[in-house]
Amino acid sequence: MIILGTASDIKLLTKDGRRLDGRTNEELRPIKIETGVLNRADGSAYIEWGGNKILVAVYGPREAYPKHTQNINKAIVKARYNMAAFSVDERKRPGPDRRSIEISKVISEALDQAIMVEQFPRTQIDVFIEVLQADAGTRIAGLTAATVAVASAGIPMKDFVVGCTAGKVEGKVVLDLSKEEDNFGQADLPMAVLSKSGKVVLLQMDGDLSVEEFDQATEMILTATKRINEIQREALSTRFVAEIEEGGE
């Protein structure tokens, strides 16, 4: 008997070692980031990462409410990851669920490591991550775009947060899983680091990897984050291509 949806009946790698969408094992999907897409927000970004389409808005730092949530020593980073009802094949029931609450938490904690929260006691920084179209790796795509939005809001940061996923498909370690590989593969490993120092700020794993495979996957991700960081930087600088001159009083 064939049970649909198990790894056995779907071929994820072709004979010449390419993946379903024609990528090699270490190839990323195309990534495009834009900033300043929302006028009302203090900072904003829009990312297209393969089939993912995600909008991020940043507000603050502003006084934290309710007042008992205020921290006298630092700002609190409140990220909200939300999937639109139309973002997946089957309608997603709107509102926070177990999965999105968890993702919101890990993204908040990852951003908290990069933002200089000690500079803004008693405030909160709101980061709204709206997934318009999901195609595997949304948490990492959302986080990558959120960093750009925070930087464009003029909020001080130690470093960029940049993330990528890797996983295991038919026994091979591959970079940046697509929807099919995520659903029918053997493992999924999203990871985010601070771009300069390489400090890990987010790491989750779904499925099983051996120690060697884990090392190989993280190594792949670290190399890929360099390229993704370039795209982040480009997204910011293209808004200021015009010549810069000395101004001021």
């Binding site: 203090d42 900072g43 603050g60 730092p61 502003r62 006084e63 006298i72 990069a114 200089m116 803004f120 006691p121 008693r122 405030t123 930087a151 464009s152 809001a153 003029g154 909020i155 001080p156 940061m157 130690k158 470093d159 960029f160 601070l194 771009s195 300069k196 930087r233 910011l236 600088s237 200021f240 015009a242 010549e243 810069i244 001159e245 000395e246 101004g247 001021g248 009083e249």
Partner: protein, 229 residues
Amino acid sequence: MSKIRQIIMPGDSIEPEGLKPRNGVYKCADDKYCSEYFGVVQKGDQYVDVVPFSGPYFPRKGDKVIGKVIEIGPSMWTIDLNSSYHSLLHMNDTPWRTQSGDLQRYLNLGDYVYAKVMSLNEIKESWVTLKDVGLRKLEGGHITGISAPKVPRIIGKGGSMVNMIKDATQTRIIVGQNGLIWVDGTPENVMIAISAIKMVEKEAHTVGLTDRVDEYLKTKVGDNIGNSE
């Protein structure tokens, strides 16, 4: 000395070249300094700063700012300075002989004041005062706003930019350090002045802005005179 400005991103390292690192710079390793902001590096005679392209205003002692009354307490007004933190104005820091519980006779909700940041503590609570020359309640006029890091550009070297807009549009303008701007004059002139201010904000990082604003004002004001005659 004016040098070409260099665009910098968070985490990028900065060569202080013997200068002292100041605003927007943090120590990211021993003897190594990095930028906090997405902005431009500004090297002065003594200090290196990173000036962000955008961002919120943070009260500094002595800043003259424009604020809006958002709450009235028994002895204090809460002032919104368009910042991450609200500020407080105590009744004893005003030129009026106020009585506790009778504050709305002097300043009501939604009124604007031109005030000075008097004191600031470790947890960023701040107090403003109206007791200094030129500080007052702003009556009439329009309020517009720009992002706080662009305030120096609106003022221009020695006030050249704001004076040019004032003269050309025959309006009275007060620029608060927090980015709020009060403009008073005839409605047509106020609209021209506001559009010129928005133009400066949008093109703050470009070369030869003063000349372009001058030209813009001339055509706009010229149009107006032509229409009225």
